[in-house]
């Protein structure tokens, strides 16, 4: 078993990734390629591969630089304090962070070949990450959004990473046969809300699924941007090029659900799907529209119905805006961050970070949204 580092996902190739099992969309060749081609600032990516005589056993992307949004989940005071120091004393004071995993993940299952010894492969990968961090003088390594059901989660614990909660993800089982079937499966509250959403949205808007959506990016990007700027947790900032690359890449397949009022686009939702899973990513809303909450709900619901229509049994709706998503039939699933400091003073702040992320435990999020 040997470790190989690549600087482009194209060096690995889509075919080599096919035999691996993990999150089929988050770690798909196309999504990682789109991300790689739209990196900005000093952010760089390497792909860590473990190979044996039969080929690739496992792989994971590793992003490093000073402009990663690793402070997004921290309390405001800590974020502002960090900004203050870096602003006045320069980027030399910024943490050099390596984030391992898909930057826009919803379901962190590292891709591993099913017949490989998972524990051994993961241990080799963790050791390689450790060596990389020391060589590149990273001060912090964050293994991002490891899903609660990922079978190798204990390997990160064994490697003495500090375990913190990440934002839970929202799963919807899109196994229903029809719109009626979907609504029947919701709670009483959810049923009346869903009927209202369908009726009102049909009256006021038109909806269209667009497969070749690259030409629409200039029109839709301001809506994605508005949603990002309004979000409580500003996770990865994606440039317009990312969406153009997504439109060109496969796998995963992707399409854009476009919502129009009087011919003008007032909402859009990007859905990516591959191997029985759909990720509904990056919703864009025109918040000047008086019905913007209706647009949000209608886009979510139509993407779920579309997944069911295609026979995709599992959909993920992302890591924010839990109240409407749970009402639409979503269930929360825990995700974890595993953090390791490589400098003493950085390590001192970790207990605070761990404490700060306890508010993302599933039961707390459920309680707050109920």
């Amino acid at each position: 078993m040997k470790i190989v580092w690549h600087s482009s996902i194209d060096d690995i190739g889509a075919a080599a990734l096919e035999p691996l099992e993990g999150s089929p969309v988050d770690f798909s060749h196309g999504l990682l390629r789109a991300m790689e081609r739209s990196l900005w600032g000093d952010l760089a990516v390497r792909y860590l591969c473990v190979e044996d005589e039969r080929g690739l056993c496992g792989f994971v992307p590793l992003y490093f630089g000073t402009n990663l949004g690793f402070m997004a989940l921290m309390p405001k005071l800590i974020r502002l304090g960090y900004e203050w120091v870096v602003e006045r004393f320069g980027l030399a004071m910024a943490y050099r962070v390596a984030i391992v995993g898909s930057l826009i993940s919803d379901r962190g299952f590292w891709p591993l070949r099913p017949d490989a010894d998972a524990a051994r492969v993961l241990d080799r990968m963790i050791a390689a990450i450790d060596a990389f961090a020391r060589e590149e003088h990273a001060q912090l390594v964050i293994i991002k959004d490891v899903h609660q059901d990922f079978p190798g989660i204990d390997r990160f614990r064994a490697a003495k990473f500090m375990e913190c909660h990440s934002l839970p993800t929202v799963r919807v089982d899109t196994t229903f046969q029809s719109e009626r079937d979907y609504i029947a499966g919701l709670s009483a509250n959810g049923r009346s809300s869903a009927r209202r959403i369908i009726k009102k949205s049909e009256e006021r808007f038109t909806f269209e699924f667009v497969a070749d959506y690259a030409p629409l990016v200039p029109e839709v990007y301001p809506l994605w941007r508005a949603t990002f700027l309004k979000a409580e947790f500003k996770l990865e900032e994606l440039p317009p090029q990312f969406f153009v690359e997504c439109a060109k890449s496969s796998p995963p397949e992707s399409e854009l659900l476009v919502c129009r009022r009087d011919g003008v686009i007032v909402g859009a939702y990007l859905a990516l799907y591959h191997r029985g899973q759909q990720l509904n990513k990056r919703i864009g809303i025109d918040y000047r529209d008086p019905d913007s909450p209706l647009i949000y709900n209608a886009l979510n619901m139509r993407c779920l119905l579309r997944a069911a229509e295609r026979g995709i049994p599992l959909s993920y709706l992302g890591q924010t805006a839990y109240t409407p998503k749970l009402r639409l039939g979503g269930h929360l699933e825990e995700q974890f961050l595993f953090i390791k400091p490589y400098r003493f003073d950085v390590g001192l702040s970790l207990p605070i970070q761990r404490l700060a992320t306890r508010r993302f435990r599933r039961e707390i999020v459920e309680r707050e949204t109920s």
Partner: protein, 237 residues
């Protein structure tokens, strides 16, 4: 029609900046209304990003940012008027980065061309987009002549060229300085700018300090904004 802002001082005189940079916009809009064949290329600045950290795209305008001076704010307001107007589809807003050979950066280039020591209170790793006046003039002429630019906001930043798209990434302040320096250069953290000025005073001006007190340039030398030029690139490819 190409319009450049009339007042470019990086100070806090907002009334004056509004009078000379924002008020003429109403007249430009009237002129466009009066002549349906007229097109406007409005020169603005990437500094309308204010203190927004991270990515700032051509689609962004009001991100809740605060401004470092009246000039940046006045152009933000002028852009707002144009974007909200009914002639928007005939207006191209060109956001220009700093010029290497004109305006506040020109004094740095001149200092670095000498052999005396220079102390720069700046973050050497921060990105500073800067092009030459000639490069900008070429870009502006090309954009103004291109009907596909109408209705768009374009970032003209490091690496932009109307004839070819250079793949060069934005230049850090250290790279800019290293390319121009002839004598010794020391960097100080931005917060210690007064120390650079004190050193200049103690050496009776032998050691030169940048930026000068009151130049208004300080915030841009610790800036952490990445300017995306997606639309500008699309236009030239």
């Amino acid at each position: 029609m190409i319009h450049e802002p009339e007042r470019q001082a990086l100070d806090g005189n907002l009334d004056e900046a509004r009078r000379r940079n924002v008020e003429p916009v109403a007249r430009l809009i009237e002129a466009l209304r009066a002549d349906p064949a007229m097109r406007l290329t409005f020169v603005s600045t990437t500094c309308v990003a204010g203190n927004k950290k991270g990515l700032f795209t051509e689609f962004d305008h009001d991100c809740g940012q605060r401004f470092y001076n009246a000039y940046d704010r006045s152009l933000f307001e002028a852009e707002g008027l144009l974007r909200a107007s009914d002639v928007r589809s005939r207006v191209t807003i060109v956001r220009r980065c700093f010029l290497l050979d004109d305006g506040p950066l020109a004094s740095l280039t001149a200092m670095l061309a000498g052999r005396r020591p220079v102390v720069i209170a700046a973050d050497p790793r921060a990105e500073l987009h800067a092009i030459t006046s000639a490069e900008f003039a070429e870009a502006l002429a090309s954009i103004a002549a291109n009907p596909a630019a109408m209705g768009k906001t374009l970032h003209v930043v490091t690496g932009f060229s109307p004839s070819r798209r250079a793949e060069a990434r934005p230049t850090s302040i250290r790279e800019l300085v290293d390319a121009a320096r002839r004598g010794p250069v020391w960097f100080l953290p931005p917060a210690l700018a007064p120390l650079a000025w004190a050193l200049r005073a103690l050496t009776l001006g032998f050691v030169r300090a940048f930026p000068a007190p009151g130049s208004g340039l300080g915030p841009y030398l610790r800036h952490r904004t990445a300017f995306d030029d997606f639309q500008a690139r699309q236009l030239v490819t």
